[in-house]
């Protein structure tokens, strides 16, 4: 039997992960650390101190040209043209049915745009953009795998990074960025993240990734900076109510279903999928993502069925033990509208037995 294998890529920090004893898994085409010491310890480090993440597997594209904002505004739900220089904004590229092709962040720099896309979607997004760039005054560059992305996240992130950044980070507002330096190396520093904590994401050329990673860990080990893997990151983002592509968003799950209606700007003259989303909003009968908290100790997992009384009303999309939600088991579920009402008593079927759960408002966790 021949098994077709996809070559697995490595980030510039691969050897660092190995040296730190990380457990590596294939993710988005890269061999990535899922955990170093323990998912729960790493999670705690981010909530109480800070954690350091290698996110170099994420796709990074540079968009240049006069026509970028106008062009991208026709492919996405959120406003692009109104992003100020050095500001960042969450957005979703949609398909004609209003489904999510990818969820992304745009960083508007002085004379170009940085677009960060999901690792698993980097290939299809590069194709999506290039197929639609014809005739537009835009120039696309793919930095995927060349530019590194290091995130430092947690209440101590500012104190840990600020002394080594060539910019006043305390003045940098949430979802803004600076073209500056870190340890003397040119970097884009953004106050963005995916953990529900304060923190920064640092874009640097891959050739500087190792020295910056090592310096940040060495200079902050005494105050508790921990390298953190994708396992902790997933628990952190789920607690913070942030969607993960392939779970709460997909080609057949629209931003409205994911509870991201705030990002859908129907006032834009046109964008791909607008008519479908308008019709969906009008009908208001769609399955939607709800937060649920399990009553008992059995965790809800992706794919488990959700019941309202005896009726199967949908399925779990993400689930985990949530240390920041009193160690309860939390989950997101894509369910019929009546089962998505906060306070509704539902049940999750786990190995043939129904377990009680309650629908709650998202996010599960909000930093104080």
């Amino acid at each position: 039997m021949t098994v077709a294998s996809v070559p697995v890529k490595r980030t510039a920090l691969y050897d660092e992960h190995r040296a730190l004893g990380a457990r590596l898994i294939p993710f988005g085409g890269f061999e990535m650390p899922v955990q170093y010491s323990s998912i729960l310890k790493e999670h705690e480090a981010v909530r109480r101190r800070a954690g350091l993440f290698d996110l170099s597997h994420m796709g990074q594209f540079v968009l240049e040209g006069e026509g970028v904002a106008e062009w991208v505004d026709r492919l996405t739900i959120n406003n692009v043209a109104t992003i100020k220089p050095m500001q960042a904004r969450y957005n979703i590229f949609t398909n004609a049915r209003g489904g999510a092709h990818d969820d992304v962040i745009f960083y508007r720099l002085e004379n170009r745009w940085l677009l960060v896309v999901n690792a698993s979607n980097a290939g299809k997004m590069w194709k999506h953009l290039n197929e639609r760039a014809g005739g537009s005054a835009v120039n696309l560059t793919n930095l995927h795998g060349r530019s590194a992305l290091i995130a430092i996240q947690g209440p101590q992130a500012l104190a840990m990074l600020a002394p080594h950044a060539g910019a006043d980070l305390s003045a940098l507002k949430y979802y803004f960025c600076a073209e500056a330096s870190v340890y003397g190396r040119p970097a884009v520093i953004a106050r963005t993240g995916y953990t529900g904590e304060d923190g920064f994401e640092i874009f640097v050329d891959g050739k500087y990734a190792v020295e910056i990673w090592r310096a940040l860990l060495a200079d902050n080990c005494a105050t508790g900076l921990e390298p953190c893997g994708l396992g902790a990151r997933d628990v952190l983002r789920l607690e913070a109510g942030m969607p993960l592509y392939g779970h709460e968003l997909a080609e057949d799950i629209t931003p409205l279903q994911a509870g991201l209606g705030w990002a859908v700007k129907f006032g834009k003259p046109e964008f791909l999928g607008k008519e479908a989303l308008l019709a969906q909003q009008e009908a208001d009968d769609f399955r939607r993502v709800a937060g649920i908290v399990m009553a008992g100790r059995a965790p809800a997992r992706e794919g488990y069925r959700v019941f309202l009384g005896d009726r199967d009303v949908g399925e779990v999309r993400s689930g985990s033990t949530a240390p920041s939600v009193g160690n309860r088991n939390v989950a997101t579920a894509l369910v019929e509208p009546e089962a998505a009402v906060v306070g509704t008593a539902v049940a999750v079927e786990i190995r043939g037995t129904k377990h009680a759960a309650t629908v709650v408002a998202l996010p599960f966790y909000k930093r104080s």
Binding site: R23, V34, Q35, S38, I39, L40, G231, D234, V235, R297, A298, P299, R301, S320, T321, N329, R351
Partner: protein, 129 residues
């Protein structure tokens, strides 16, 4: 990693300690380490009859659900109630406080199908590569 000498092992990384006709069952150090932080253990009820190598429950870590198999058959006479409130006990003391259940053996000869400490050590060494 040396394996405790007074135990027998299954290929699924459970250990069993035989004391007369009572078998105490748990998962090994290698198993807990591979699983990571254990957040939930689902075990059969006292009085349940289980068959050797049958699926009798699950052990869940933060990210994964793993089936639990019993290395011996018989009647479940006790389950470790402490794991309900503190499943991480399996991580901290897999061979001691993190034991899972006690089974009254239905057929003592079943132990012949289990691995010796040295045979299990070899299995772990192979899987780790």
């Amino acid at each position: 990693m040396a394996q405790p000498e007074n135990l027998l092992y299954s290929k699924e990384h459970e250990w069993v300690k035989i004391d007369g006709d009572i078998a105490t069952v748990g998962i090994t150090e290698y198993a807990q380490s591979s699983l990571g932080d254990i957040v939930y253990v689902e075990l059969p009820k006292t009085g349940a009859h289980v068959v050797q190598f049958g699926n009798i429950g699950v052990v869940e870590s933060v990210k994964a659900v793993s089936d639990l198999f019993t290395p011996v058959g018989g009647e479940v006479v006790e389950v470790n109630a402490e794991l309900d409130g503190d499943p991480a006990l399996v991580n901290r003391e897999p061979f001691a406080g993190g034991w899972m259940l006690k089974i009254r053996l239905s057929d003592a000869s079943e132990t012949a199908r289990l691995l010796s400490p040295s045979a299990y050590e070899q299995l772990v060494a192979e899987e780790a590569h």
